[in-house]
């Protein structure tokens, strides 16, 4: 696509600059303020026929509004005003070239206004597809090797050797490798390391691992370097005996989060609330809100704690949604568990409710199937069904609050674009008994394409098979990602 406009537009720009376009765009295409919306609401009617369409345009020379059903064309002919702007999308029509024309400078103005508009409406930044810059376009042309991704591609799949009961690690590695956003981060080579080559950085190690998985080679990989690195940095896990995959998952995230500090760009990068903003926290950290209500004075004390996963009791409920419902239900703390109320300045009975204040991009659920007590260690094989698609809205703090005051929040226009849907992308299963068990994982390689990872064996699986499995760790990825506005 040629984005240098046309000779007619270039002449117009030379004479009048970009201001006429800027004004039309900011007021009638992407309203950057409430005032602009008022103008747009009341005056976007065809000056000739009075209708609001079809396809309203504004003359760029004299700001005459007219519809595309002939009236803007009439105006253009009689006045010899050849350039007009489409008010829905901001594209410019040149009557002399007889088509829409594209101009890089004006397109950029349009993008800036779109961002401002999103901000003024309180919606997240609209999705904009990636456009290669001249360098990237050249690199793409130079690199002739292409790989076609079809439904039968086995790209990104590789078995992992068992190093003597290290299936717990293999499952977690398979899960991390198939976490979409993590894959994008690593394949985009975003980790630029100060400790590069030292062999001490787990993030670098995972980065190499991604290259191995996507190299096209099929032989199973041996992860002794990775295991060794995690052992050195999470000493409580060291030893070749069978480990708990959940414990290993959390320990791995923790070491990765600590080693992200080795990154050139990531060092000390904190959010306003003082929380870490490394890739691990960006993907896996959510906020758990705890509201404790004193039964005497009804005073509420609220705390919000970061979490990487949610551990759920499995005895009783039969589905993940039911487990979550119970997890976020207000619970009465009896006389045996009095809490000091800062209002009453005394120990009081209270109710406690947990809700999700912010959702992570990857929601990880740990079904508590292992019960350890002083008397007995046992595994709970209770059936818990889990869906392929999960809406987390009912478990959020904002939603619970709305339900409490009886408001019907579902249709508030502000919430129209709020999207809390998640899709299942990995399931870790534990088969067998507590001490003689084995871990396997199901991972989603592409949309609708599932594989079972059993150490070095990778086999195709159906979604039904995945959903029918027992489930120990469940991983959901946000279905739609919101964009943050950088140039505010």
């Amino acid at each position: 696509m040629n984005d240098n406009g046309c000779i007619h537009l270039n002449n117009f720009k030379a004479a009048k600059g970009t201001n006429p376009y800027k004004i039309v765009h900011a007021f009638f295409v992407a309203c950057t303020s409430f005032e602009a919306r008022r103008y747009k609401a009341t005056s976007c009617l065809c000056f000739t026929c009075g209708m609001p369409g079809p396809r309203m345009h504004s003359c760029l020379h004299c700001i005459y509004f007219a519809c595309y059903a002939g009236h803007i064309q009439d105006h253009s002919k009689t006045k010899k005003h050849f350039l007009y702007v489409d008010l829905s999308y901001g594209n410019i029509y040149c009557a002399q070239c007889q088509d829409y024309i594209y101009d890089r400078e004006l397109t950029e103005i349009g993008v800036t206004h779109k961002l401002k508009e999103a901000k003024s409406l309180g919606i997240s930044v609209p999705f904009m597809p990636w456009l290669p810059n001249p360098n990237e376009a050249m690199a793409l042309r130079r690199l002739r090797k292409r790989r076609l991704i079809s439904p039968h591609t086995t790209i990104g799949l590789r078995g992992l050797q068992n190093l003597g009961s290290t299936c717990f690690m293999n499952c977690i590695v398979q899960t991390l490798i198939h976490t979409p956003l993590l894959r994008d981060y690593f394949l985009g080579e975003k980790h630029k390391c100060k400790a590069q080559g030292s062999g001490k950085c787990l993030v670098c190690e995972v980065s190499k691992l991604f290259q191995e998985f996507y190299s096209g080679a099929k032989t199973p990989l041996t992860l002794h370097r990775l295991l060794h690195l995690i052992w050195t940095h999470a000493r409580h896990l060291a030893g070749y005996e069978q480990q708990d995959a959940h414990e290993f998952f959390i320990a791995t995230l923790d070491v990765l989060h600590r080693h992200c500090m080795n990154g050139v760009d990531e060092n000390g990068e904190k959010k306003e609330n003082g929380r870490c903003n490394c890739i691990i926290d960006q993907i896996f950290t959510g906020g758990l809100q705890s509201d404790v209500v004193c039964t005497s004075c009804h005073g509420v004390s609220t705390t919000i704690d970061p979490f990487w996963d949610i551990s759920l009791d499995v005895a009783g409920p039969g589905s993940l949604a039911a487990c979550l419902e119970r997890f976020t239900r207000a619970e009465h703390l009896g006389s045996g568990a009095k809490i000091k109320c800062s209002n009453c300045r005394a120990y009081r009975e209270s109710t406690k409710q947990l809700t999700l204040e912010t959702l992570p991009i990857v929601a990880s659920f740990h079904l508590k199937r292992f019960e350890h007590s002083s008397q007995i260690d046992r595994k709970i094989n209770a059936f818990v069904s889990f869906p392929a698609e999960l809406d987390m809205t009912p478990f959020m703090s904002s939603h619970r609050r709305a339900v409490d005051v009886g408001a019907d929040n579902n249709n508030a226009p502000e919430g129209v674009c709020e999207d809390n849907r998640y899709s299942l992308f990995a399931v870790v299963n534990h088969v067998g008994s507590l001490d003689a068990g084995h871990y396997t994982a199901y991972v989603r390689q592409m949309k609708g394409s599932w594989f079972k990872c059993d150490d070095h064996m990778i086999t195709r699986a159906s979604l039904r098979e995945v959903l029918d499995s027992e489930g120990y760790l469940l991983f959901y990825h946000k279905t739609v990602l919101e964009y943050e506005c950088e140039n505010s």
Binding site: R37, M51, P52, D99, D408, P413
Partner: protein
């Protein structure tokens, strides 16, 4: 458009809700792959007419009917439902 419709339309623009619904629609159409399908349709039409310079209006005339037919019912239903409920709650206030 009747007078009532015009007022409803103007109010939607004024509050910004029209843009919010438009954005929601845009997202749904991208999510379900509609946008990619339409892009392929456009590509085909341009390729068929490689000899003569195709304009936007020619492209729109050729692709619009097919593109409309491709919009999934679930998307139409969701939007209709949300706009309806929204307009009704506005009316009550």
């Amino acid at each position: 458009m009747t007078v009532n419709n015009t007022i409803a339309h103007q109010r939607l623009v004024l509050t910004g809700d029209r843009e919010r619904f438009k954005e929601l629609l845009r997202r749904r159409l991208i999510e379900c792959g509609w946008r990619d399908q339409v892009r392929m349709l456009c590509r085909d039409v341009v390729k068929e007419n490689e000899s003569n310079n195709i304009t936007f209006d020619m492209l729109a005339a050729r692709v619009t009917p097919r593109a409309r037919a491709l919009v999934p019912d679930t998307v139409k239903k969701e939007l209709l439902q949300k706009i309806k409920t929204h307009l009704l709650t506005q009316k009550d206030q």
